[in-house]
Amino acid sequence: MTNKEKYKKAFSAVCPSDEFSLEVEKMKKINKQNIFKTVAASAAVCMIFMASATVAYAMDVGGIQRTVQLWIHGDRTDATIQFDGDGTYNMEYTDAEGNEKSMGGGGVAFADDGSAIPLSEEELMEELMAPDVEYKEDGSVWIYWMDQKIDITDKFENGFCYVKLVNGEETLYMTVRYKGGYATSNHRYLGPDEWRGN
C-alpha cells in the first residue's frame, strides 16, 4: 500500500457529526443576515459622503488641496484631497476599475474642558497616511502602508500579530489584534496585556 493510500484510509475515519447539516435554506437565512450587515455599513458610508458633499460647497470658496498616494480598498492610488479648515476633507480618486470616486470625512479632538477642536490638516493627513488593515473575503489579512503591502494572515499567534514597518528613517512597531484594531509606536510593540479593555 502506498503512502497516499495509507493516508486516505486513515483520514476516511473523519467525517462531520450526524447533527451537522448544510441545508441550503438555512444557509440562505444566514446569508440574508450578512447582506443586512453590508447594507447597514453602506448606509453609514452614505451619511459620511452626504456630509462631505455639503462641505464641498464651502470648499469652492477656498481650502487647501493636496495630491497624495493612498491605499484605498487594497489599491494604491493617487487621491486629491481638499481640506476646508473645519476638520473635514473631501477626496477624489480613481478606483481599480477606472471609475471616478469621491468620499469624505473628518474628525475632532476633545480638549480638557470637553469642547471639540476640529483636527488640523496635518492631523487629518496623519490619520489618512496611517497603516490600514484589511480582512479580505478569502480570509487573508493585509497591512497597507506607504508603498508596502504585507500579507500577515499566518503571522497571528494567540490573536495578536507584531509587524515592524520601516519607511526611510521612520519605523513603526505595529501590534494588530485579530479583528480588534491595531496600535503603533515608534519605539516598541504594545503587548497583549496592555491592550485597552483587557
Binding site: 495509507k6 484510509k9 450578512n34
Partner: protein, 160 residues
C-alpha cells in the same frame, strides 16, 4: 461557470470538513468553516474558469477560515486529540497511528502534507493554493515526511 451550491455541497462537503479539521483540530470549528466556505461561495458573484478552479478556491478559503478560527481569542472548548480519536473508527491500528502522527505535525507541514496525500495536489498546485513558492512547498513536504517517518518508522515509506 458557477455550479449551484447544492452540487458543490454534495461533492466537496466531506473533503472540506477533513481539510478544516486538519487545521482546526476541532469538530465544531471545522463544521463552521465548511458552512462559512459554502456561504462565501453562494453569496459572491465570482465566476470560475473550471471545476478545478472551484475546488482549489473552496480549499483555499476553507484553509484560511480554519486558520482564522485558530487565531481568534475565543476558541471553542475542544476535546483533546486522544479523546476525539476514541470516537473515530479506524480500520487498523496503523491508520490510527498515522492519523495521530499527522495531527501532531506543525500546522504548516500538516496542511501541505494533507493537500499532497489526501487531495492529490502536485507541488505546483499546492504552491498556487497556498500562495507559496514551489521550493517552500517542497521544503515543508520534505520536513513533514521526515517527521512522519521518524514517528511511524517502517509504516511510512520513503517517497519523493
Amino acid at each position: 461557470m458557477k455550479p449551484s451550491v447544492e452540487q458543490l455541497i454534495e461533492k466537496y462537503r466531506n473533503n472540506l470538513y477533513v481539510m478544516a479539521f486538519n487545521v482546526c483540530k476541532n469538530t465544531q470549528d471545522a463544521e463552521d468553516v465548511v458552512q462559512d466556505t459554502f456561504i462565501q461561495y453562494w453569496s459572491q458573484k465570482k465566476e470560475f474558469e473550471s471545476e478545478q478552479h472551484i475546488r482549489a478556491w473552496l480549499i483555499r478559503v476553507a484553509i484560511n477560515k480554519a486558520k482564522n478560527k485558530n487565531n481568534t481569542f475565543f476558541r471553542r472548548n475542544s476535546l483533546p486529540l486522544e479523546d476525539y480519536m476514541q470516537t473515530l473508527v479506524f480500520e487498523s491500528e496503523e491508520s490510527s497511528e498515522l492519523f495521530e502522527a499527522v495531527m501532531n505535525l506543525p500546522e504548516k507541514y500538516r496542511i501541505v502534507i494533507h493537500l499532497y496525500y489526501y487531495e492529490d495536489y502536485s507541488v505546483n498546485e499546492i504552491a498556487a493554493i497556498l500562495k507559496l513558492t514551489q521550493s517552500n512547498v517542497k521544503v515543508r513536504l520534505s520536513r513533514g515526511r521526515l517527521l512522519l517517518r521518524n514517528t511511524l518508522k517502517e509504516d511510512w515509506e520513503y517517497d519523493e
